[in-house]
């Protein structure tokens, strides 16, 4: 999508006019192309991982990491162009929300992945990024022409949105590490060598990582909700009750899981299953989370249009 001219209108929820966000030296390299290319690199990492798994070969972590890094840089560039268009965090429609979650998840992988000596975390992360990327690119309705600045010009609320979506990225990575735990656990219980999956991190390492990710996600979402709560006190009409209920419910679900784990009531396999299943909550809530304000209020004007 090439950003077109942005009509000026005195609406706080609409983006301020800005330059056309296509680099002069790369006229065809639009935000959407950058994101698609990023998804392509994620897919290359996934295919490389699949090849390693199917051929029971120890994969090169450098190659896997490079695919992910290049993909993430391209995705960052695409989201940056979109952010420039609205002068805010690129979370104006479902496409951007999903992309932001995938971006956060990949960023976390890039940060923590090298900590494991032999792991397929890159393989699973690339799988997640490809899934989210392809689905969001394939549904044009998600990338509506009417992109909005859902939180107006208030930077505090923009921080809230970024933190909340970043916590969703953390929960996405938590779902991946939980899946890896379950695979390793199943192979060990069924006394299988596991082939290339034997290169997964140990279950103790994955369990520790799950706990840290869960704690991190819960804290981030709590801060995001705290900021939103402060904002909501001053602007009670700015948030739809359904959105408030859903986001608080998502946080409560994860906080419950964290409490159960800390109390040692849900551990190991049960805890991993819980973390995996709970990821449905943020996924299903994305639609409601993307609604910026009470539905009975006038809708914001379009910020940018597709050519």
């Amino acid at each position: 999508m090439i950003f077109g001219p942005i009509p000026a209108a005195p609406d706080l929820h609409r983006a301020a006019p800005g330059p056309t966000l296509v680099p002069m030296d790369l006229p065809f390299f639009t935000d959407r192309w950058a994101i698609a290319c990023g998804t392509g690199f994620y897919a290359s990492g996934l295919l490389y991982g699949c090849w390693s798994v199917l051929h029971r070969r120890r994969h090169s972590r450098i190659a896997s990491y490079t695919f992910m890094l290049v993909g993430w840089l391209l995705q960052t560039y695409g989201l940056y162009l979109r952010g420039q268009a609205t002068h805010s965090c690129p979370t104006g429609n479902k496409f951007e929300l999903v992309q932001f979650v995938a971006w956060s998840c990949t960023l976390l992988y890039l940060a923590v992945g090298p900590a494991f000596r032999t792991s397929l975390l890159g393989f699973f992360s690339s799988g997640m990024a490809v899934l989210l990327g392809v689905v969001s690119l394939a549904i044009p309705a998600w990338d509506s022409a009417s992109r909005t600045r859902p939180f107006g010009d208030d930077p505090v609320v923009a921080i809230h949105a970024s933190l909340a979506l970043f916590s969703y990225g953390v929960f996405a990575l938590l779902a991946l590490t939980s899946l890896m735990f379950l695979l390793q656990h199943r192979n060990l219980r069924q006394k299988r060598s596991g082939g290339a999956f034997a290169l997964l991190p140990s279950i103790v390492e994955l369990d520790h990582m799950n706990l840290r990710l869960l704690g991190c996600g819960v804290v981030l979402l709590a801060i995001a909700l705290g900021i939103a709560g402060l904002h909501w006190r001053g602007h009670p009409d700015a948030v739809a009750p359904a959105k408030l209920i859903v986001t608080v419910t998502v946080w409560l679900c994860y906080a419950f899981a964290l409490g159960q784990r800390l109390l040692q009531r849900w551990v190991a396999q049960r805890f991993a299953w819980l973390c995996l299943a709970l990821f449905l909550a943020p996924l299903l809530s994305l639609g409601i989370v993307s609604s910026p304000r009470r539905p009975d209020l006038p809708a914001p004007l379009p910020a940018v249009r597709a050519p």
Partner: protein, 349 residues
């Protein structure tokens, strides 16, 4: 040499009999002594050597008379309290050059559950040394066993049969790493003082495993091992405490009943919070009740499990088997020819 024509092998191993039967076939020292007395009493056995390991019980016997394998089988079953009809389908018997070839293959690790493993050579040497000490080996078995040791060395040198990690100990350690990652924070409890358990402790130590605790019915032996591994000794009566505090448990006792029961493991797990427990059962009969494997967060591997995993990892070794077998067969037949000039090779019975 006429006697060499009557070299018999009778036994059972992992290829011929299931784990449950092998548990029953394991010869205790008392049964071994009874079998020796029975063999002497027949008057027909001039030499014999008994190879009794966790995966095989094999009797190599030399007789000046053409005693039948059925006769040996009957004596063996009587000592073991088995009906010959129950044992016969799982027994394997060899005669003359086929018996020599079999011993060569056993010593070289070709007949092991984990092809190419080296522990068996030491066990064969131990069996031979015990027979020498008891004075039950003579010119035939002396030559056959010594040639078997020599052939095993040649096979290891000239083929890749011994390459890769395939021993019980190293497979167990790699599993421990899949559960705990780096082992430096893991506590290890070794129950019993079996040879394989000691090797496993060594392998764990080589991967920087944390504290290693030894528990043995003979406290002095546990303390000796604790000194050797810079670990600690635990009174056998305090096994429950050790179980709760350890991450990896290697059990290799000669106890006829399980040492670790399901209630014991269950109670330990309640004290361990979220940390998994890896139980390695290297004993036969088994030391750990099979039901323990059903408990959450408990991983139980016995000898068969470890062997099967190793088999998966050593497929490339199998490509070397034919080469190794060709080397061994030629040497075994040559050995037999020298013992019994002019004799022809008998096929296995």
């Amino acid at each position: 040499m006429t006697a060499a024509k009557h070299l018999f092998l009778l036994g059972a191993n992992h290829r011929t009999s299931p784990l449950a039967l092998r548990e029953r076939l394991t010869l205790t020292p008392e049964k071994g002594a009874a079998l020796a007395a029975a063999l002497r009493a027949t008057g027909a056995v001039a030499e014999y050597c008994l190879l009794n390991t966790c995966n095989r019980v094999e009797l190599y016997a030399v007789s000046p008379e053409p005693v039948t394998a059925q006769h040996l089988l009957a004596e063996f079953c009587r000592i073991q309290g088995l009906a010959p009809a129950d044992f016969a389908p799982h027994a394997h018997q060899r005669r003359n050059p086929a018996a020599v070839v079999h011993l060569f293959e056993v010593a070289a690790g070709l007949d092991s559950q984990m092809v190419g493993e080296t522990e068996i050579l030491g066990q064969v040497k131990d069996a031979y040394a015990a027979a020498q000490a008891a004075g039950t080996v003579g010119p035939v078995l002396n030559r056959v066993f010594q040639k078997a040791f020599h052939a095993a060395k040649i096979v290891r040198r000239e083929t890749a049969i011994g390459e890769g990690q395939v021993s019980v100990a190293t497979v167990a350690v790699s599993l421990a790493e899949r559960i705990f990652g780096r082992l430096r924070d893991s506590r290890v409890l070794v129950i019993g003082a079996g040879d394989i358990a000691e090797k496993t402790a060594k392998a764990l130590r080589s991967r920087e495993a944390g504290t290693i605790i030894f528990a043995n019915r003979t406290a002095a032996r546990a303390e000796e091992l604790a000194r050797e591994f810079a670990g600690a000794a635990l009174p056998f009566a305090r096994l429950d405490d050790g179980l709760a505090e350890s991450d990896i448990v290697v059990s290799s006792t000669a106890a006829p009943e399980p040492v670790l029961t399901v209630p014991m493991v269950d109670a330990a797990m309640h004290k361990r919070a979220s940390r998994p427990l890896f139980l390695i059962d290297l004993a036969l009969p088994r030391d750990i009740e099979p039901g323990a494997a059903e408990l959450p967060n408990v991983f139980v591997y016995n000898l068969d499990d470890l062997a099967r995993l190793a088999e998966e990892n050593i497929a490339q070794r199998r490509a070397e088997i034919d080469r190794a077998r060709a080397l061994l067969t030629g040497r075994a037949e040559e050995t037999w020819q020298k013992l019994s000039p002019g004799s022809t090779s008998d096929s296995p019975q």
